[in-house]
């Protein structure tokens, strides 16, 4: 083997190892007390994080951890939307309409028709069962924790994110700084699995689904409103129903007390 091949081999092994480590963690964990987050930090050695966690514990009672596999943002938002829809039939129907509408919107944008139809169909068929209450919460979370099932649904989330960005290419293209086209960016960063969402991905998914979100930041940045959170979109009037906790490189879902 040449050096280059050896290097690729080594890289592959490392990726495989990281992947196996990730898979020890559930894709979508159960809801657990938010105090767990405080336990992650030591009051002596990392007082900033510790204090932020304590402060957030006043507002948030629970956390649902999501596997850190590069899909965590998409998965967290998707689970957040599902939980809203499981409690509110009207909203479930509304979200189903949005999703059904995306099939044509994606085709209009030139997504390959056959595979796109397949992703849309699998997603909407699955979601219809949630809307029509033909499934149980247990089954829903089983599906969400089955790699193959769950990731097929996540692709739909990625496709509509890409679709939204492409529908508004004039607004988003200027944010891509390395000279790539928006289409190129979407295919390598948004549609490709296991790629973390950056601010375009975040904005695209929120606007494509119609679900506003609040992100509480656990890093060292302070948000403009004096607290730690950002609402997306920034001008949304009501407190978003879905809150995420951001810790460097990762998103989990958190729940108000």
């Amino acid at each position: 083997m040449t050096d280059a091949e050896n290097e690729i081999e080594l890289q592959d092994q490392q990726f495989k190892q990281i992947e196996n480590e990730q898979k020890m963690f559930p894709l979508v964990a159960d809801r657990l007390p938010f105090d767990l987050v405080i336990l992650d930090y030591d009051a002596e050695t990392s007082p900033d994080y510790y204090n932020k966690a304590k402060e957030l514990a006043n507002t948030y009672g629970e956390i649902r951890q999501i596997r850190g596999d590069g899909n965590c943002f998409y998965r967290a938002v998707f689970v957040g939307i599902l939980e809203v829809c499981m409690k509110n039939e009207e909203k479930a129907k509304q979200f189903l309409e949005t999703c059904l509408g995306w099939n044509d919107r994606l085709l209009k944008l030139g997504f390959p028709d056959w595979t796109t139809n397949d992703f849309c169909e699998v997603f909407t068929d699955w979601f219809k069962k949630v809307v029509n209450k033909e499934t149980t919460s247990e089954k829903i979370f089983d599906d969400l924790n089955d790699d193959s099932q769950s990731n097929y649904l996540i692709i739909f989330m990625r496709l509509i994110t890409s679709g939204y960005l492409k529908e508004h290419s004039e607004d988003y293209a200027p944010f891509i700084d390395d000279g790539r086209s928006l289409a190129d960016y979407c295919s390598t960063e948004i549609e490709a699995m296991w790629k973390d969402a950056d601010h375009l991905g975040i904005s695209g998914l929120v606007l494509a689904t119609g679900y506003n979100i609040r992100i509480e930041y656990m890093d060292r940045t302070a948000a403009p409103n004096g607290g730690w959170h950002y609402d997306i979109p920034a001008d949304c009037n009501e407190t978003p129903e879905i809150s995420l906790l951001y810790r460097p490189g990762h998103y989990d879902i958190i729940y108000h007390k």
Binding site: F111, P112, W114, T115, T116, D118, F119, V122, D125, W126, D147, S148, Q149, N151, Y152, I155, R158, L159, S187, T188, E191, A192, M193, W194
Partner: protein, 196 residues
């Protein structure tokens, strides 16, 4: 149980049969929907013309989130194909998109045959000859084109080499035998898919 990847592979197969792209064919093997065999015909008016190249495609339950592992089984001489038949093609690695299907994979490999990328050589001799001695390159390609007819026969237990490039006969035999089996599985997949 029909998983989304298996269901999707059955649909890929159905589409390949109903709407076959020119010059490629593929089908799952007898008892495993995750293991496919495919044939790519060398594009016309290229040195690969008349070649019938056999490939294997190995899918995992993570398809289409992850691409399959694709290898030439027939001997290949090409700047972007390694000695073991592995293919260096961006869409099978870092530029994979879940929106690609089997037809898209096979047609991309088919176009790669005559449009090699000498900047990422997997076979340095082929890359060098392609750039510096096209005549010799084409001679080498001609050799593997002729070998491709032989390999098809061998794999079907028919070692007799057809003298008139009779690749089409053996070739069809391969495809028919695999598609019958896959059809059986197809029905099964269709039945369970409707339960979803």
């Amino acid at each position: 149980m029909t998983t989304p990847s298996r269901r999707r592979l059955m649909r890929d197969f159905k589409k390949l049969q109903e709407d076959p792209p020119a010059g490629v064919s593929g089908a799952p093997t007898e008892d495993n929907i995750l293991a496919w065999e495919a044939i790519i015909f060398g594009p016309q008016e290229t040195p690969f013309e008349d070649g019938t190249f056999k490939l294997s495609l190995e899918f995992t339950e993570e398809y289409p989130n992850k691409p399959p592992t694709v290898k030439f089984i027939s001997k290949m001489f090409h700047p972007n194909v390694y000695a073991d038949g592995s293919i260096c093609l961006d869409i099978l690695q870092n530029r994979w998109s879940p929106t690609y299907d089997v037809a898209a994979i096979l047609t991309s490999i088919q176009s790669l045959l005559d449009e090699p990328n000498p900047n990422s050589p997997a076979n340095s001799l082929a890359a060098q000859l392609y750039q510096e001695n096209r005549r010799e390159y084409e001679k080498r390609v001609q050799q593997i084109v002729e070998q491709s007819w032989l390999n098809i026969g061998e794999n079907e237990g028919d070692v007799e080499l057809k003298d008139d490039g009779g690749d089409s006969i053996d070739e069809k035999a391969v495809i028919t035998s695999t598609s019958e089996n896959a059809d059986a599985e197809n029905n099964e997949g269709g039945a369970s898919a409707s339960n979803v």
